[in-house]
C-alpha cells in the first residue's frame, strides 16, 4: 500500500502540472504570435490598422489581412500597413478587448459612434489637429473644402478626434406603389396618411389582383413608415429648449391599429423582423405599397432590376411608381437620409508614428486610391465608359476579386473627392433597358426629394442618429431598456384591439419614460443641444448638403 500511495502522489502531481504545462507549452509558440516580421520593403514606416471582416472573401483571394488589395496598398502607399481584422458584427467586443489589453492598432476604422464615443471618454484616442496641420496635404484639402467635416469631428474638448467622409445625401428608405392597382381601382396616389389608409384598405379589400380571393395586403410595415409620422419619441425645439414629444407614436399607433384590426396588413408582421416575409409578399404581387430601404447601388439595383423582374413574372402587368411620403397629422416629413457626413476612423492614443498614419490617410484620400479600392484596376476590372466613369469588364471576375472590398479598405473616401463617378447613378448603364429604368426611377426619386425639401418637409427626429451624442454610462442601461419597453408597448397597443386607445398607449409610454429616468436623459440631451446646436450636424445642414450635391446629381441624371 505504501508503494501505491507514492504513485498516487505522482499521479496527483499531474493535477498541479496542468498549470506548469500551460506555462511551458506557450514558449515555443511565442515567436509565432508576435508581430509578424516586417517584410523589409525599403524605408517605409509600418503602421497597423483595422479592417472589417465580413466572412465574404473567397479562399482563392486569401484573407482580409492579406490579399491583392492589401498588397496593392503596401506597394503603392507611403506606408506598410499591418492589418488586424475586426469581425464586422462583433466589432465592439473585439475593439474593447484590443484596447483593454493595449494591443489596439494605430488606426481604427469603425462606423458606430457608440463604440467610438466611449473610447474618447476613456482618453484612448489621439487628437488629430496637430497631425493634420503638420503632415497632411490631401486630407487637409478635403477638410478645407468641407468645413462641416471638421465641425462634426470636433469633440467636447475642442479638438478633432475623427477622420470622416462626405457621403451621397439620398433617401435611405423609399416607398413604391402598384400603379396598375391604383388604375384598376380608379384611385390616385395618397397625399395624406388618411388617404394612405383609404388606398391601403382598398388594396386589401377590393381584390386588385383579380384572383377572386382576399389575399392582398395594403402595405408592409417596413422601413420609413414610422418616419412619415415624425419618428418615435423625439424632441420639438421651442425657443432653444428641447420638448419631448410622443406625437409621432400617437399618430402611428392610431394609423396602424386600424390597418391591423381591419386586416389590411399582414397580421404576422411583428415576427418578420428582417423584412424577408414582406419582401416575399411584394415579389409575389401581394403588396400594394412597399416600404423599402434603397440607399445604396446594390439595394437600388435589387429593387428596380432584379426584384421588379421577379414581380413582373409573378404578377404580369405590375407597374411600380415612386410614392412620395404622404402628409401626416403631425406634419409633412421627409425620408430618412443617408448620413451625409460620416465619421469613420480614429487614431489610437499610443500610435507610435502619427506622421505615417497621416500619410496613409492622405493616400486614402486621393481620388486614384479611392477609385482603385472601389472599382479595382483600370484595364483589369474596369474600363472607361461613355460617361467617363468606370464600367465593369467582367462581372464574375469582379464579384470574386472586388466583392469583398466594398469601401472597407477606404472608409474615409468622400464622394466629393471622387467626383460624379462616385455617385450611385453613374453606375447604371443606360444602354440596358432595365438599368435605364433604374436610373430614371432614381431621377424621379431625387426630384421628389428635392421638392419635398423645398416645400419645408421636416426631419423625422432631432437630427441624424449617428450625430446624436452617446448617452452617458450611468444612464445607458436605463435608456436602452426604456426604448426596448416603449417599442414593445407600441406593438402591444397596435395589436391590442379597440380598448387599447392611442391616448392610453401614450400615457403608458410617458409612465415608462419616467420610470427609466427619462427626465435625466432629457436633461442630458438638452445640455448637449445647448452646447452643440451650432456645431453639430442638424437637419438644416443635411438639407444644405443635399442642395450642394444637386448640381452633380443633375449632371449625371440629365
Amino acid at each position: 500500500m505504501k508503494m501505491s500511495k507514492r504513485n498516487v502522489m505522482l499521479a496527483g502531481a499531474s493535477v498541479a502540472l496542468i498549470g506548469m504545462l500551460a506555462a511551458c507549452s506557450h514558449s515555443d509558440h511565442a515567436e509565432n504570435s508576435g508581430p509578424s516580421g516586417d517584410s523589409g520593403s525599403g524605408k517605409k514606416p509600418t503602421i497597423s490598422a483595422t479592417i472589417y471582416d465580413r466572412g465574404l472573401i473567397a479562399a482563392s483571394e486569401g484573407t482580409m489581412e492579406n490579399n491583392r488589395w492589401t498588397k496593392w496598398i503596401n506597394e503603392n502607399g507611403p506606408t506598410n500597413v499591418k492589418f488586424t481584422a475586426v469581425p464586422r458584427t462583433e466589432s465592439k467586443q473585439k475593439l474593447n478587448t484590443l484596447f483593454a489589453s493595449g494591443s489596439a492598432p494605430d488606426l481604427i476604422f469603425e462606423f458606430d459612434p457608440n463604440i467610438k464615443n466611449p473610447l474618447y471618454e476613456q482618453k484612448q484616442l489621439m487628437p488629430l489637429d496637430d497631425m493634420i496641420n503638420q503632415y497632411s496635404t490631401t486630407y487637409k484639402k478635403v477638410l478645407d473644402e468641407n468645413p462641416i467635416l471638421k465641425q462634426v469631428a470636433t469633440k467636447s474638448d475642442g479638438k478633432m478626434y475623427e477622420f470622416g467622409k462626405i457621403n451621397e445625401a439620398i433617401p435611405q428608405n423609399i416607398a413604391v406603389i402598384r400603379q396598375d392597382w391604383l388604375d384598376k381601382l380608379k384611385l390616385t396616389a395618397p397625399k395624406t396618411t388618411e388617404e394612405l389608409y383609404q388606398v391601403a384598405k382598398a388594396f386589401a379589400e377590393q381584390d386588385p389582383d383579380g384572383n377572386g380571393q382576399k389575399d392582398t395586403y395594403g402595405l408592409n410595415v417596413g422601413p420609413g413608415l414610422l418616419d412619415i409620422f415624425g419618428g418615435g419619441g423625439s424632441y420639438n425645439i421651442e425657443n432653444g429648449q428641447l420638448v419631448r414629444t410622443w406625437d409621432g407614436y400617437k399618430f402611428y399607433i392610431d394609423f396602424l391599429k386600424r390597418l391591423y384590426d381591419e386586416g389590411v396588413i399582414d397580421k404576422d408582421y411583428i415576427t418578420d423582423n428582417n423584412g424577408a416575409k414582406a419582401r416575399q409578399d411584394f415579389l409575389n404581387g401581394k403588396t400594394g405599397i412597399y416600404f423599402v430601404q434603397a440607399s445604396s447601388y446594390s439595394l437600388w439595383n435589387r429593387l428596380w432590376v432584379t426584384d421588379y423582374a421577379t414581380l413582373k413574372t409573378n404578377a404580369p402587368g405590375a407597374d411600380l411608381e415612386m410614392m412620395p411620403y404622404p402628409k401626416s397629422p403631425n406634419g409633412q416629413f421627409i425620408n430618412w437620409i443617408n448620413n451625409p457626413v460620416q465619421l469613420t476612423a480614429v487614431v489610437n492614443r499610443n500610435a507610435k508614428d502619427p506622421k505615417a498614419v497621416m500619410e496613409y490617410i492622405d493616400f486614402l484620400s486621393k481620388p486614384e486610391t479611392g477609385r482603385t479600392l472601389t472599382n479595382g484596376l483600370e484595364g483589369v476590372h474596369w474600363q472607361e465608359g461613355q460617361s467617363g466613369c468606370p464600367n465593369t469588364i467582367d462581372q464574375e471576375k469582379n464579384k470574386t476579386e472586388l466583392g469583398y472590398v466594398g469601401q472597407d479598405y477606404d472608409m474615409i473616401f468622400s464622394v466629393t473627392s471622387g467626383g460624379k463617378c462616385s455617385f450611385i447613378a453613374s453606375s447604371f448603364n443606360p444602354d440596358k433597358p432595365d438599368e435605364k429604368l433604374a436610373k430614371d426611377k432614381f431621377k424621379e426619386s431625387m426630384n421628389i426629394f428635392y421638392s419635398m425639401i423645398d416645400q419645408g418637409a421636416k426631419w423625422p427626429g432631432l437630427t441624424h442618429s449617428e450625430h446624436m451624442p452617446t448617452v452617458p454610462q450611468d444612464l445607458l442601461v436605463d435608456s436602452q431598456n426604456g426604448s426596448t419597453e416603449i417599442g414593445n408597448l407600441v406593438t402591444k397597443a397596435i395589436v391590442g384591439g379597440a380598448s387599447y386607445t392611442p391616448d392610453k398607449a401614450i400615457s403608458e409610454i410617458q409612465a415608462l419614460w419616467t420610470k427609466y429616468n427619462g427626465a435625466k436623459i432629457d436633461a442630458f440631451y438638452q445640455e448637449w443641444y445647448t452646447a452643440n446646436k451650432d456645431t453639430a450636424l442638424m437637419p438644416e445642414d443635411i438639407f444644405q448638403i443635399v442642395k450642394e450635391q444637386k448640381a452633380t446629381q443633375d449632371e449625371i441624371l440629365k
Binding site: 498516487v8 499521479a11 499531474s14 469581425p87 473585439k94 483593454a100 435611405q172 416575399q280 430601404q293 440607399s295
Partner: protein, 290 residues
C-alpha cells in the same frame, strides 16, 4: 405480460406527443436543408417549405468558391480534435487521483476546482493572462484556459469512484503499477464516460465562438463557427440600419446562409449516432450509488 387498454392509450398518447415534439425539432432543420438546395428566386418568394424547389447546388458552389468555408472547416476540425485530446488528458489526470480515497489533499484539490465553477476571472483579466503567456492568436489560447471543465471532471471522477475496488486490487496483486492500471484497466472500462466527455468537449470546442473571436486575430485561423455566425449576423446590420454601412447591403443570400448552416452542423450530426449508445450510459452512471 399483457398491456391493459389504459396503458395502451397512455403509450399511444406519449408516442404521439413525442412524435409532435420531434417533428417540431426536425422541421426547421429540414426547412434549412431544403432552402440550401433551392433556387434563389424560389427562396426569395417564399416557395420553399420542406422540399427543395428548383433544386440546385448553386448555394453550395457559391459557398465553397466564394468564402473561406473549407479552410475554416479544417480549422474547426483541428481546433476541436486538438482541444478534445488536451481536455481529455487533463481531465483524466485530474479525475483519477481525485477518485482515490487515499490521495493526499483530495478534499483541498476538489474544493479548489469547485471554486472555479462559482467564480471566474472575467473577460479582460483572463485575456490579459492569456496575452502575457504569449498565447494570443494561437489555438492554445482556447485550449489551455478551458482545458478542464470542472463539471466534466466531476462526472469522470464519480465514474471512477463507482468502479468496484476489487478490480483494482486484483490488478495490483498481478503486479500492475499505477500508470498501467490507469491505461490498461481503468480507462478501457470507462468507455461510456470517455465517449460522453469527448462529445461534451467536442461540441463545446466546435461551437466555441466568443473565444475564437477574442483570442484569434488572424482571420486565417478563424473556425467555421465564426465564419457562419458572421454571415448570419450580417443580416441584423441591415435591419438595424442605424449606421450607414454600404457594404452591409451586400447581403449573403438566404440560400448560401442555409448551406453554411448545414455545413456547420453536419460533422456533429454525423458523429452523434456513433457516440450515442455510450452517451446515455455515461451520463447515467455515477448517478446511482449503491
Amino acid at each position: 405480460m399483457r398491456e391493459s387498454s389504459g396503458d395502451r392509450i397512455t403509450r399511444i398518447g406519449i408516442s404521439f406527443l413525442l412524435l409532435l415534439i420531434s417533428i417540431s425539432c426536425l422541421a426547421p432543420v429540414i426547412n434549412i436543408l431544403s432552402v440550401s438546395f433551392s433556387g434563389k428566386q424560389a427562396v426569395e418568394t417564399g416557395k420553399v417549405l420542406l422540399w427543395p424547389v428548383d433544386a440546385t447546388l448553386q448555394s453550395y458552389s457559391a459557398l465553397f468558391e466564394g468564402t473561406r468555408v473549407l479552410a475554416s472547416l479544417w480549422n474547426g476540425v483541428v481546433m476541436t480534435v486538438g482541444g478534445v485530446i488536451i481536455s481529455m488528458v487533463f481531465t483524466i489526470c485530474a479525475a483519477y487521483p481525485l477518485s482515490k480515497g487515499y490521495f493526499y489533499g483530495r478534499r483541498t484539490f476538489t474544493l479548489l476546482l469547485l471554486f472555479t465553477m462559482v467564480f471566474t476571472g472575467g473577460l479582460i483579466p483572463t485575456y490579459l493572462v492569456v496575452k502575457s503567456l504569449g498565447l494570443i492568436d494561437s489555438y492554445w489560447a482556447i485550449w489551455l484556459p478551458g482545458a478542464v471543465s470542472t463539471y466534466n471532471m466531476l462526472i469522470m471522477r464519480s465514474y471512477f469512484e463507482s468502479m468496484e475496488p476489487e478490480i483494482e486490487e486484483a490488478a495490483r496483486i498481478d503486479g500492475c503499477k499505477e500508470w498501467t492500471l490507469l491505461f490498461r484497466i481503468i480507462l478501457p472500462l470507462s468507455m461510456p464516460v470517455m465517449a460522453t466527455l469527448i462529445l461534451f468537449y467536442g461540441v463545446g470546442y466546435w461551437n466555441s465562438f466568443m473565444n475564437v473571436l477574442i483570442y484569434i486575430n488572424s482571420t486565417e485561423k478563424y473556425t467555421i463557427t465564426v465564419l457562419i455566425q458572421q454571415m448570419i449576423a450580417s443580416q441584423s446590420l441591415l435591419t438595424e440600419a442605424l449606421v450607414n454601412d454600404s457594404q452591409a447591403m451586400l447581403l449573403v443570400p438566404e440560400g448560401i446562409r442555409s448551406a453554411g448552416i448545414i455545413v456547420l452542423i453536419l460533422p456533429m450530426v454525423l458523429i452523434y449516432p456513433f457516440l450515442q449508445k455510450y452517451f446515455v450510459k455515461g451520463v447515467m452512471l455515477g448517478s446511482v450509488k449503491g
